[in-house]
Amino acid sequence: MKTYYLPAYAIADLIKTRQISAVEVLEETLERVRDVDGRVGQVDASQAQSKEDLSSVHAFTTLADEHARGQAEKIDQMVKAGESPGPLAGVPYTAKDIFTVKGIPATAGSKILSNYVAPYTATAVERMETAGAVMIGKVNLDEFTYGSSSESSALKPVPRNPWDTSRVTGGSSGGSAAAVAAGEGAISLGTDTGGSIRQPAAFCGTVGLKPTYGRVSRYGLIAFGSSLDCPGPLARNVTDAALVLQAIAGEDPRDNTAAVVPVPDYLAELEKDIRGLRIGLSEEFFRVTYFDADTGELKENPIDGEIKDAVLSVAGFLAQLGADIVIDVPLPHTKYGIPTYFVISRVEASSNLLRYDGVKYGFRTEQPFEDLRELYRKTRGAAFGVEPKLRMLMGIYLSAAQFDKGYYQRALKARALIRSDFETIFDPKGNYRLDALLTPTTPTTAFPIGGVYGDSVLMQYSDQLTVTTNHAGIPGLSIPVGFDKKGLPIGAQFLGPDYSEGLLLRVGRAFEKVTANEEWRNRRPPLLPAND
């Protein structure tokens, strides 16, 4: 049996018990990448056109095979010497190209960083290495993580969904989700600012965990929305996600927002039963708002019936296991999630993007310039794509004193109200006393490539079921829960109070176990031969 589709925990066991070497696992995974990934994303390259292009995944922006071989050989030496190689010994993984890794390009999916080689390594990546994991490369994303389909990356071709390569992977951690789904690494590190781990995980049929804000250090991330960004794992099963969180969570003197909160033993929590847990369902998450470009109005509709049925079926399984399902849980400020996000994320993004100037690092315009201001304008105008430009312009409009209409203060208040909704339902002495909330992860399954891109409002509204989690700072775990009639994965998410990742993983694992024999559990992306 090939190792590239095995769980991370199984790969680590095989290596630690010397049934296979880390180098052998790596080589099988790299072969898998060569078989299914196609052209690696590059700036100014053409979009997918040929038949081969259109049926490939295109997850990668950088293949770090030599770096990976060095790490794998080190693991094999440790095993041979009888040393402990770590809980993720020899497990191949990818990192979203928003994490810095010393000596390896960090593009953020943007032309403006296309020639940037990181001089330091992100804490999460360092901790993965300490745990024995082997980074095989960087994977594609929306430019600076700004998007929900990974189509805005300046590095073409953009990733394609392994379940149907005519469809998007979701985003912004689209390369991460696609790589994991296609067997190109057992796990991937992503980031979630408004749903960027959970939404692509749902679209590609993988597990995705957005930890509590501050649970995982942001050191070494190229910043988007500094009060919202959360690094976390994408994996093919809940246990692997728990293993990764165990490795990367915890305080970090290099990030003052990395909270000083003890890291529990997530694996010890996993197999406990869920009897008596109170799991909520909220009507607010079963309807969607969307922007009608023809009328310029926001409209509301019930969510896709297939997704609603799949989520209710999850509740049914959990009830069978002894959980109490609490219905009609009110979260009245959910509908303000996207408007609030339009303000806060744009203001933070515009601030974070001012550092790219063509002077200190990154791309510099090739056009002639007279002075520093012209250098800035020509460099930034040529090297930022439309998404960063939109975010900068909106961020300035919403925050600059000369245009100020109080939107930012109002958005911060809306954020407090959204947070207060969650505090109310999770209050152990309140009316609801929930341990977790169960919701759909996305309003739709993966949409066609080119189907939404260009309509920045509609694209943003695809995050409406994930974004309130980020405003509140709470954790969210998305897991695959079935398929729609088109054969596309459906995701559901569990949300919980601050630092409740252990409980969310336990509920996710319970669902995995109780559905282990369901027909849909045996499905594999068409790119994977049935006998693998």
Partner: protein, 106 residues
């Protein structure tokens, strides 16, 4: 529907963002910004008042979960050369910049 972001306001924003836009991009960007403002305007309907608090991170930071600030000490960065060689133009270990223009502020 009147555009919140007029052509003149848009030009000012582009200037503040230090962007020189490729031909044909302005109209698309301005249209999208105005569409986004339809969503932002929804915030006007939220019942907030002076008493409603604000949230900066969602999750509160208290003395219990905040790290102790690092000591403020100077040190030689170990990656100095790696950092400097990222600059598009260097001379004797200094980053070269073109003339810095000056303009009277309003």
């Amino acid at each position: 529907m009147t555009d919140k972001i007029s052509v003149d306001v848009f030009k000012r924003l582009v200037d503040l963002a230090s962007l020189e836009l490729p031909e044909g991009e302005s109209e698309y960007l301005r249209k999208e910004l105005n569409n986004q403002m339809v969503s932002v305007e929804v915030l006007e309907s939220i019942p907030v008042d002076a008493e409603t608090g604000t949230a900066a991170h969602g999750i509160p930071y208290t003395a219990m979960n905040s790290p102790v600030p690092r000591e403020d000490v100077t040190r030689q960065d170990p990656h100095r050369e790696d950092i400097l060689k990222q600059a598009p133009e260097l001379e004797d270990g200094y980053i070269v910049v073109p003339d810095i223009s000056h303009e009277e502020l309003d």
